[in-house]
């Protein structure tokens, strides 16, 4: 019998701790597939954030650093400068990357660090129990916005991809999602583009994945992608905001 589907080599055998319907596991797997396909497993170094994916290092069979909250791009900078031949990626959520770590991601991008930043945007703080994030939608009820996010006092959802795309240095900035098989394949392609650009020494790449958090959204796993499609995608529009090397055309 021919084996046509198996665990990527770059994934460990540890079962995910993620909730049913959460997209972390899906994105982890896509990253591992890309690492396998590019044959860079033995020289890839990941940087895990603080948040639900704090244990990302448990799921990838590659070297890892576990960074302080928001600081993954700074830690990755240090690693990559010492080991320029390694492939360094960060993996952060919206509280980590778009709130406490805003300075670190913007400046790593602006320095054009030759790293790949994966940004999981699910519009909420997951691990701490569902607080309002910088990417929470207007009117969205969370543990710390019980009356709904009010733009007058809490501002508007931050569009990180659009912000980063305004910088000169980044080579690839894209927003994708995994809400259906077609988009999942596009996400895989985006990650492949980003890691390939790094492998070729082209510079900073940023992949934002609009993702689910059924637990803290108060949704059934089966309803989460529907909610994402109807509510998040109109605000966080999918697309590529910067592609200086034209990888998507080739």
């Amino acid at each position: 019998m021919k084996k046509i589907f198996s665990r990527p080599e770059s994934m460990s055998k540890k079962p995910f701790h993620y909730c049913p319907g959460c997209d972390h596991g899906v994105v982890h797997r896509l990253i591992a597939e890309v690492i396998d396909e590019l044959e860079i497993k033995n020289r890839t170094i990941g940087v895990a954030p603080v948040g639900c994916s704090v244990f990302a290092y448990d799921y990838f069979d590659v070297d890892f650093n576990q960074a302080p909250h928001g600081r993954a791009p700074a830690v990755a900078t240090g690693i990559k400068r010492v080991r320029p031949d390694s492939i360094v990626f960060t993996y952060q959520g919206d509280g980590d990357l778009a709130a406490i770590g805003t300075a670190e991601i913007i400046h790593a991008a602006n320095r054009g660090e030759n790293i790949t930043a994966v940004f999981i945007n699910n519009a909420i703080y997951g691990m701490t129990g569902g607080q309002m994030a910088p990417t929470s939608l207007i009117g969205m009820k969370t543990q710390t916005s019980p009356y709904g996010r009010d733009a007058a006092t809490a501002g508007h959802p931050i569009h990180m991809s659009e912000m980063i795309a305004t910088l000169e240095s980044p080579v690839y900035v894209t927003r994708v999602t995994v809400n259906n098989p077609a988009n999942l394949m596009k996400t895989k392609k985006a990650l492949l583009n980003a890691f390939t650009l790094q492998k070729e020494g082209k510079g900073f790449s940023f992949v934002e994945v609009v993702s689910t958090c059924p637990t803290n959204w108060g949704k059934k796993p089966t309803d989460a992608h529907k909610w994402l499609t109807e509510n998040m995608l109109p605000v966080f529009k999918l697309g590529t905001f910067k592609d200086t090397q034209g990888v998507e055309k080739s």
Binding site: N42, F64, Q66, P68, R71, G78, I79, V82, R83
Partner: protein, 361 residues
């Protein structure tokens, strides 16, 4: 022997770091340590090293965390308010047991304070500063020569103990120029640490992880006791072991009735005071801790048997004096004299204090 060169203290740290094999520096501008990053921004590219001016002290210390994780000899420097910002990262680095060299050219605080020299970061330096059960090895030079020598020693200690090492300097030492004999260069291999990320000698099945998270309470307790054991080993080595002479300088203590105690720039003023005391018939001696953690308590335990009293002098409202009191343990009186806010006490002022203690009438 190498020839002597005239250097500023801050620059001597930079050159000594390069000679110690440090090729990575990450920092953020702040007075009065600017000569150090300025020096390294010019020097490191000459030796294929990396200088990055980070967006903040917070980012800089995390770049150090990354570079240290990847096996490099790496350094950052700052001054008091900037070191406060770095404490989060230092705690992670201590927890993950990543070697690195930190420099604090102390200025007046609290808050923005001023840019004048001070010793008011002693507690922050020796009590951790960041959160959690951890310790930082703290070295306190009192000359440009020692700033160079202790930088080299610091990198060695950091690697040996897999621990952050802090060079605690101040605005005077950082800015002043003195002749210095530079140490011999060290050939450091970035692939010498088997635990480092990207270490190239690994078996295919191995992977390395640099982390300070131990979610399971039993695991964290085990990790914390492991760190504690390491700190005990360090304490033994610096009190009775191979580094005991490195840790402290004693001057004319054997017959001393009054022991003056001070570190860093103060110790040089105290040496003058001791000499003046002796000329006036006062049997004074000097203890200068060169390592502030682990503290050289054993010296005070011994001298408490022979001396009558201790006078601790600091450029603060009194921080190290607590360690002297702990070490003397009530056996003899311990007095304090300090100037703060960036003021340096004169030998005359200190002599006056000695007079009051020795001749109370």
């Amino acid at each position: 022997m190498a020839e002597k060169v005239l250097m500023k203290g801050n620059e001597a740290i930079g050159e000594a770091a390069v000679l110690a094999g440090c090729r990575y520096y990450f920092g953020y501008p702040i007075t009065p340590q600017s000569e150090l990053p300025a020096y390294l921004s010019k020097r490191l590219p000459e030796v294929d090293g990396v200088f990055v001016q980070a967006e903040s002290e917070v980012a800089a210390i995390n770049m150090v965390y990354g570079a240290g994780s990847a096996g490099a000899r790496v350094m950052t420097s700052s001054s008091s308010p900037g070191i406060s910002l770095k404490q989060e990262g230092i705690s992670y680095i201590a927890g993950a047991e990543i070697p690195c060299m930190l420099v604090n050219v102390v200025r007046g605080g609290p808050g923005l304070g001023n840019i004048a020299p001070a010793q008011s970061d002693y507690w922050q330096a020796t009590r951790g500063g960041g959160h959690g059960d951890y310790r930082t090895l703290v070295l306190a030079p009192n000359s440009v020569q020692e700033m160079a020598d202790m930088t080299v020693a610091g990198f060695e200690f950091a690697d040996r103990f897999r621990n952050p090492v802090l060079l605690l300097s101040d605005g005077v030492l950082g800015q002043m120029m003195e002749p210095v004999t530079l140490p011999d260069p060290v050939d450091y291999d970035v692939n010498s640490k088997k635990w480092a990320l990207g270490y190239n000698g690994k078996e295919k099945s191995e992977r390395n992880l640099c982390s300070s998270i131990f979610l399971d309470v039993d695991e964290l307790e085990e990790h914390n006791w492991h760190l504690y054991q390491k700190y005990q080993v360090m304490t033994d080595l610096f009190s009775t072991g191979e580094y005991k002479d490195f840790a402290v300088e004693e001057h004319l203590c054997d017959d001393a009735e009054i022991i003056l105690v001070g570190y860093g720039i103060i110790s040089r003023i105290l040496k003058t005071v001791v000499e003046k005391c002796r000329k006036r018939g006062i049997k004074a001696g000097l203890v200068r801790p060169k390592v502030l953690w682990p503290y050289p308590a054993q010296v005070f335990e011994r001298l408490a048997k022979t001396a009558n009293q201790f006078l601790v002098v600091e450029m603060s409202c009194g921080q190290m004096v607590e360690d002297v009191k702990l070490s003397v343990n009530g056996k003899k009186p311990v007095y304090f004299f300090g100037r703060t806010g960036g003021t340096i006490p004169s030998d005359f002022e200190i002599l006056n204090e000695v007079d009051k203690l020795v001749r109370p009438d």
